[in-house]
Symmetry: C2
Subunit: 210 residues, 2 copies
């Protein structure tokens, strides 16, 4: 499994994409299928993906992202949204298990009751969860892209209202992150250094080490 | 790279851990080192990790997590926090690049100015970012654990105030997620089904497909 770990180390946020190269729809769908293997609270799957690969739309998206060149240069820019009302789709998510007998009706009802109790009327919790689930999926997406030989660039430097308007996303969808994916062009920066593990990790109680 | 992709598919949120087995401190540190390979806004690295592997502390953590058995049964439960004041450590994060000449002083000052402009006084943005960065790291952590032959269980079902108090985490640290990691015991559920890619993905504009 060592090459799994090397992929985690090799992934680096890129800036320079080869704008002449494309990624097939089949590859885009495959990358998203791996993103959705992420876990989510109760398996709600708050994530919704818009793959922007039409150059005219990429240019508009770039304008909504402070003119970051990579948004339009890359082969596809994914906008990942998180649904703050995601819990409303939970019954649909469990339906296949209920029908297959992998989940009984009492468990189904119990899980739905717990999830509704946790999220209904809890606006901050719903937003947190939309961002958390969308971000878990985002990391999987970048790893899958890297594993398939592409490079990626995650961004939060964009105007969320402008992005939602451009893509026609309803108000219950929070833009979580934007990720450009494509083929490398020369001149990308090497990985930025990280704080050492000892600085960010402690055992059994929190220790401030900065 | 196909085994990278298979690890993403094989990871499943587990419930049953072998409570007789441990994970070495070296392995715990290695897993966290991969988690910190995740990207973060401006490379702020909002994540802070507490690895709880003392059984007495695990029992208290379990009590703060609605008595979920796995919290104490597993070899180690990671609590990932996100620092809402993370931007205050950005100069420290860039210092090695500045010293090595990989970043000049003008870029250093410019990046710090942009980051402060984006986050200072923006409480919602700071919280969002703490959760986003912590979640990106969390996904890497689960993948690294899986790649090393362990199983994992992400949880948000816990009392955040009780967890912070137990571990002595200051108020600027938001508990983002809790992840139990360990060795599999029998009886874990298979992967829960996901919505099909076509249901959660559209091209160039958002399409509601539920």
């Amino acid at each position: 499994m060592s090459n799994v770990l090397s992929v985690l180390k090799e992934r680096v946020s890129a800036n320079n994409f080869d704008f002449t190269k494309t990624i097939s729809e089949a590859d885009i769908k495959e990358i998203v299928s791996y993103a959705t293997e992420a876990p989510s609270s109760f398996n709600i799957q708050h994530w919704r993906f818009v793959a922007v690969n039409d150059k005219a739309v990429q240019e508009k998206l770039k304008a909504a992202a402070y003119n970051q060149k990579k948004v339009a240069d890359c082969s596809v820019t994914f906008v990942i949204f998180g649904d703050v009302n995601g819990v409303d789709k939970l019954a649909l998510a469990y339906e296949p298990m209920l029908k297959a007998g992998a989940m009984d009706k009492a468990t189904f009802d119990g899980m739905l009751g717990m999830a509704n109790g946790m999220y209904k009327g809890n606006a901050q919790g719903c937003r947190d969860e939309a961002i958390r689930s969308g971000s878990l999926a985002a990391m999987n997406l970048m790893i899958a892209a890297q594993a398939k030989g592409f490079i990626s660039a995650p961004m939060i430097g964009f105007d969320p209202a402008a992005v939602s308007k451009l893509l026609g996303a309803p108000a219950n969808l929070v833009p979580v992150i934007m990720i450009s994916v494509g083929h490398a062009a020369p001149g990308n920066w090497p990985r930025k250094p990280r704080f050492s593990t000892d600085k960010v990790l402690s055992f059994n109680s929190y220790k401030e080490s900065f």
